[in-house]
């Protein structure tokens, strides 16, 4: 999982959690998850729908944290 690869670079700052959406429906609803995979960055500061290549996911993270 790409998010997991990212966490490895800075585990003190990054937590990457795969969430099985059907087991945690309240959380999935909270973030309006309609398709998978869907990545939620910092509780909704960024949302990425689908499996993006590394550089695209990174760009969305950069946008969301700034």
């Amino acid at each position: 999982m790409l998010a997991h690869q990212m966490a490895m670079e800075n585990p003190g700052m990054i937590r990457a959690e795969g969430v099985e959406a059907t087991e945690f429906p309240e959380l999935a609803n909270q973030f309006n998850v309609r398709g998978v995979p869907q990545t939620i960055i910092n509780d909704g500061k960024g949302i990425v729908v689908g499996a993006l290549p590394e550089k695209n996911l990174l760009a969305e993270i950069m946008r969301a944290v700034n």
Partner: protein
């Protein structure tokens, strides 16, 4: 109890685990409180961990081992943390999975174990530079389904 992984699957995993390099610590967090998939998740991890001696498994309870759960930032059950084991030291890589890793996600679990065992993210230099220099916490939640 009946096995979740049949012999054919176990032999495939065994082959895949030939890539394992360094020891990996898997942490399972269950709960007595309304946890439909906790027992199956635990059993699945026990069967996977038994396949290769580089893997070890710790079994914890979200409520009874609240301190360990907090240390690894776990707030759900079932939850899985895949960490590095260096000697007696368990080093958190921020890699977790909430829910049972079934279907397609079982492959993700196996790949994550191999990833942690290699101790290298395999990311581009650009990604590494940015992530290493993050000054604020980053929480990524990747929603998936078993199919």
């Amino acid at each position: 109890m009946e096995k979740l992984l049949n012999e054919q699957v176990i032999s495939q995993i065994k082959q895949t685990f030939e890539q394992l390099k360094e020891p990996v610590q898997i942490l399972f967090f269950g709960s007595q409180d309304n946890c439909e998939y906790c027992a199956d998740t635990r059993q699945l991890l026990e069967e996977v961990a038994a396949i290769d001696e580089k893997l070890s498994l710790g079994i914890y309870d979200l409520q009874q081992n609240a301190g360990i759960a907090a240390k690894f930032n776990v707030d759900k059950a079932p939850a899985i943390v895949i960490a590095a084991k260096d000697g007696e030291q368990v080093n958190d890589f921020g890699i977790q999975y909430s829910g049972i890793p079934a279907g397609h996600e079982f492959g993700t679990l196996i790949n994550d174990i191999i990833l942690v065992s290699g101790r290298d993210s395999g990311l581009s230099d650009e990604a590494r530079d940015f992530l290493k220099n993050l000054e604020k916490p980053l929480h990524l939640q990747v929603f998936v389904t078993p199919t």
